[in-house]
């Protein structure tokens, strides 16, 4: 079993996202470590892109802040390299295809392996286009995470069949960002997916608070929180470590089975 699937073995999983280079490279390292030691089970690191079409304003702005400091892929590999000296938490890169194509797929995945990246999420690479990177990723043992959306319907079997690591279930239509209410029938979709695979399911897009996380983890194995984490970083800038630790630990306690916290 790979490192990513392994974290789902014992309890409900909390995955948190931040954008590399927001507010700067050193702080990104610090915030990853802070979340890792306070309850995050897996961290998703966003590679900034000039035109992130899957992102809502919060993450768009975070990517804009990171790019204004000229962050590049080598800086991001350095972040991972440095984190790996202190933590073995699974790390996933979240990206759009263009920066990878430009850098070279072979070179990119080789670097991922060297610094200790475990997986990758590529927002604009659906199943139909995965041959773009799949052989490079496989060769380096980097897991390509499969996303399933509320509109996937008849596509669920084919998507699920080739998934690895975990299934990323997109909670809602639209882009990333905090939502007050999640209207998709997560329970039914999770049941459909569970019929086909034993892989764990984590739900992302729109989740920000304890009660949403508790509700969702009734049906699935984990939650992914992005924009809410980025909002904390946006608000507290260089001094977000403590707030992040507090936030992450609250959510983790709430979703841990047997926990008494509401």
């Amino acid at each position: 079993m790979n490192r990513i699937t392994e974290i789902f073995k014992n309890n409900k999983v909390l995955i948190t996202y931040l954008t590399a280079g927001d507010p700067d490279i050193l702080k990104t390292e610090e915030y990853i470590l802070s979340m890792a030691s306070n309850g995050s089970d897996l961290i998703e690191i966003g590679i900034p892109f000039s035109d992130p079409v899957s992102e809502g304003e919060t993450i768009q702005n975070a990517m804009g802040r990171a790019l204004s400091k000229n962050i590049n892929l080598d800086d991001i590999f350095n972040i991972v390299f440095n984190v790996r000296k202190k933590s073995d938490i699974p790390l996933i890169l979240m990206t759009y295809l263009n920066p990878l194509l430009f850098y070279g797929y072979g070179r990119f995945f080789k670097s991922c392996k060297e610094v200790g990246v475990n997986g990758i999420i590529i927002c604009d690479m659906p199943f139909e286009e995965q041959e773009e990177v799949k052989c490079f990723a496989d060769k380096c043992g980097i897991i390509v995470i499969t996303l399933i959306a509320p509109t996937s319907n008849e596509r669920i079997p084919i998507l699920t069949k080739q998934a690895e690591g975990f299934v990323y279930l997109v909670s809602s239509l639209g882009v990333t960002g905090v939502r007050n209410k999640i209207t998709t029938d997560i329970k039914t979709m999770a049941t459909e997916i569970k019929k086909i695979t034993n892989l764990p399911i984590a739900v992302g897009f729109g989740i920000s608070n304890v009660s949403q996380a508790k509700e969702i983890t009734k049906y699935v194995d984990g939650v992914i929180i992005g924009s809410a984490v980025v909002e904390i970083i946006e608000r507290y800038k260089d001094h977000a470590a403590f707030k992040l630790a507090e936030y992450v630990s609250d959510i983790k306690k709430a979703i841990t089975v047997g926990s008494k916290i509401l």
Partner: protein, 393 residues
């Protein structure tokens, strides 16, 4: 099912949320494109409503002035709403209606595609929302008012460079929010498959007519067809039926802005590298880190960092030659055509006119150049006035 490649270009590089809709569109289009009733309805809209066929006009004064090849103008500017955009929009909106969508959304640069979409939505009784960069709203305010008059809601896009690229981003985001009842009417021969093919098919009426009309007037094929290229819809439409006629030279004029040696340019073929963006693999202007580069052109309609995938392929296979034309050169051509022929072309189309002005004098007198005048220039008059004030005072 194929995911629609032209050589290595094209594809469907979009989020999973949109895949169901794009597959649905692919199936629907494959059904309707050969269905007699759909084609009759579409043809009737083009002829009765948009005013097709558009004229192929022999520009006698310009021909004499340039002193070489005969210059013909394909007058897409005379279509209803003033540009070629209406051809594609009527087709797509009809398709949207057939597959049961109740709302259309679209990006727009110069506002021509937005106006055309708002028009088709008014005609076919659909809800309509347009996304337009804040910077383009400033340069093309008249078109914003036209869209509103037609009943569309116009959203100002404030992200990124606040131009066409960002308008596409925002329309894609809105599409992923409302994909269950909304149809994205894409304006150029770009985006994920099947859009490049759909837009090309709906625009190919331009080259079909050029061929027929010229044959009637001259009993031969043109020697050269010239069109401007942003995403590449009027150009692919003007080229398509000539691609297999190898003796016809096809030339696309892209926007060089202040020059291809400056950063203020939108000349994708001259400056771009292969990339993946807006759902397709093609050429894109990029930074040294693989970010999409900010681009510039005087023309809001050509101010785009990419080019449609079929053009990328036509460039690689050398079937079409792509030539960069600067702001200054386009403005010269804008004035030339206005003065010699009494036809004010869109600043986009003026890019093509400029290259024809260079080419015609070098060609023999019985040679024929056809320029696609993709749109009318009324929308640009105010801006040209400002441009001249700033550059020549």
């Amino acid at each position: 099912m194929s995911n629609g490649k032209f050589g290595i270009y094209g594809g469907q590089y979009i989020p999973e949320t949109l895949m169901h809709a794009i597959k649905e569109l692919e199936i629907a289009y494959n059904n309707f494109k050969s269905e007699k009733q759909f084609n009759n309805e579409f043809k009737s809209l083009l002829d009765e409503y948009a005013g097709r066929p558009s004229r192929l006009y022999f520009a006698k004064n310009a021909t004499e002035e340039l002193g070489g090849a005969k210059v013909y103008l394909k007058r897409e500017d005379l279509n209803h709403t003033g540009s070629h955009k209406i051809n594609n929009v009527l087709g797509q909106t009809l398709l949207a209606k057939k597959i049961g969508k109740t709302r259309v959304i679209a990006e727009t640069g110069a506002g021509q595609h937005g106006v055309a979409t708002a028009t088709a939505a008014a005609l076919l009784n659909m809800e309509c929302e347009i996304f337009m960069g804040e910077k383009d709203i400033e340069r093309q305010s008249l078109n914003v008012f036209r869209m509103q008059l037609l009943g569309a809601k116009v959203n100002a896009v404030k992200s990124g460079t606040r131009t066409l690229k960002d308008a596409v981003n925002e329309t894609m985001r809105e599409w992923s929010r409302s994909v269950d009842y909304t149809f994205y009417v894409l304006g150029s021969a770009m985006g994920p498959h099947p859009y490049p093919q759909i837009v090309r098919d709906f625009q190919s009426v331009i080259s079909k007519e050029i061929k027929e009309q010229l044959f009637e007037k001259e009993s031969k094929l043109p020697d050269v067809v010239i069109a401007c290229v942003g995403g590449g819809s009027n150009s692919i439409g003007a080229f398509y039926n000539f691609i297999n006629d190898k003796e016809v030279k096809l030339i696309g004029c892209e926007a060089a802005g202040k020059g291809i040696d400056t950063f203020e340019t939108a000349a994708t073929i001259a400056k771009g590298k292969i990339g993946i963006f807006h759902g397709m693999k093609s050429y894109f202007c990029q930074t040294e880190n693989g970010q999409i580069a900010p681009v510039y052109s005087i023309s809001a309609g050509l101010d785009y960092p990419g080019i449609g995938p079929e053009h990328a392929h036509l460039h690689d296979t050398r079937r079409v030659e792509y030539i960069p034309v600067t702001d200054d050169e386009a403005v010269k051509a804008f004035e030339f055509l206005s003065k010699t022929e009494g036809i004010i072309p869109a600043i986009e189309s003026a890019h093509a006119v400029y290259y024809a002005m260079q080419l015609a004098p070098k060609m023999v007198k019985d040679a024929i150049i056809v320029i696609c005048i993709s749109g009318r220039g009324d929308k640009d008059v105010d801006m040209i006035l400002k441009y001249k004030g700033a550059n020549h005072k």
